[in-house]
Amino acid sequence: MRWGVVVFPGSNDDRDTLRMAERTLGDEAIALWHKDRDLHGVDCVLLPGGFSYGDYLRCGAMARFSPVMEAVGEHAKAGGLVLGICNGFQTLCEAGLLPGALIRNRGLRFVCDVATIRVETSDTPFTYGCRAGELLQLPIKHGEGCYVADEETLARLEADGQVVFRYADRAGRSVPEANPNGSLANVAGVCNPGRNVVGLMPHPEHAVDRLTAGEDGLKLFRSAQAWLGRRPSEARREATVVPGP
């Protein structure tokens, strides 16, 4: 398949993401310059981590007005796959492609650590190959990763199974101690109502090698490969969902 990695001024995980898609997955991967209005036929758009536009005003606030984001929006509207990682997640929220927003970590400190996240639903292209309740170890590195949404929005996300990942302890419990940034309900990642757009703060692209940070991140990308390659008969495969927060 063909992956597209958006490059904003200030993106800094774009190279790693491209490298992962090419070398680890063995797929075709192209960089999508932020001024590009064409997605060049990619199957999946990846918005990488970094500090687009210096994080000025709010993280992702300026990036959402890049010409490429218009094409990303159309791709998303047509059901195309989009994954936003860290700054990419912030940008998708700013663009209104995902609900909620990400604000300064509750502890005010930049966190750089390995987080355990629990897959809450297998009903997205990026968790298609996971089990609900499965635990993944992924690196986190962010200053503004505290997920917030108004009560009504959060209730809707919970009811519709749009919370895709939640911070959890090693035993899989989404307890406050396992929450690195103060996110509401330990939310680490969400999807849109169409479930084709997913965003998360942890970095799956940095966990694709046993030598460095493990291979748990690969599951998200392998899921997307499998989801795109599935036969029509598999399309309605029973999804698994973790019951409640």
């Binding site: 005003l57 709010r58 606030a61 300026m62 007005f65 929220c93 700013e94 909620g100 927003a101 604000i103 300064r104 970590n105 509750r106 502890g107 005010l108 505290c146 917030v148 949404a149 108004d150 103060g182």
Partner: protein, 86 residues
């Protein structure tokens, strides 16, 4: 038409966690300002508008706030034109 100075105050919405405000409040308490509570840290943005009628300027700045200067999910904004509320 002359120049209008617009001042935009962006503040965290009520109910939205404001860790910065909390930290500032704690520091003020440490410094002995015990009477302080509910510190909210926001942003102040100043703009100059050229060749725009005052009645149009308010709507224009509101548009800027809604599209870029503030994020309605987490922030409220207030506008002043030449020192008075718009």
């Amino acid at each position: 038409m002359s120049t209008i100075v617009a001042r935009v105050f962006v503040t965290p919405k009520r109910g939205i966690l404001d860790p910065q405000g909390k930290a500032v409040e704690n520091s003020l308490h440490t410094l002995g300002f015990a009477e302080v509570s509910d510190v909210r840290v926001g942003k102040y943005i100043e703009l100059k508008l050229r060749d725009v009628a005052r009645d149009v300027a308010g709507a224009r700045v509101r548009g800027m706030c809604e599209q870029l200067l503030a994020n309605g999910v987490i922030e409220d904004f207030r506008i002043e034109l030449d020192g008075s509320a718009a």
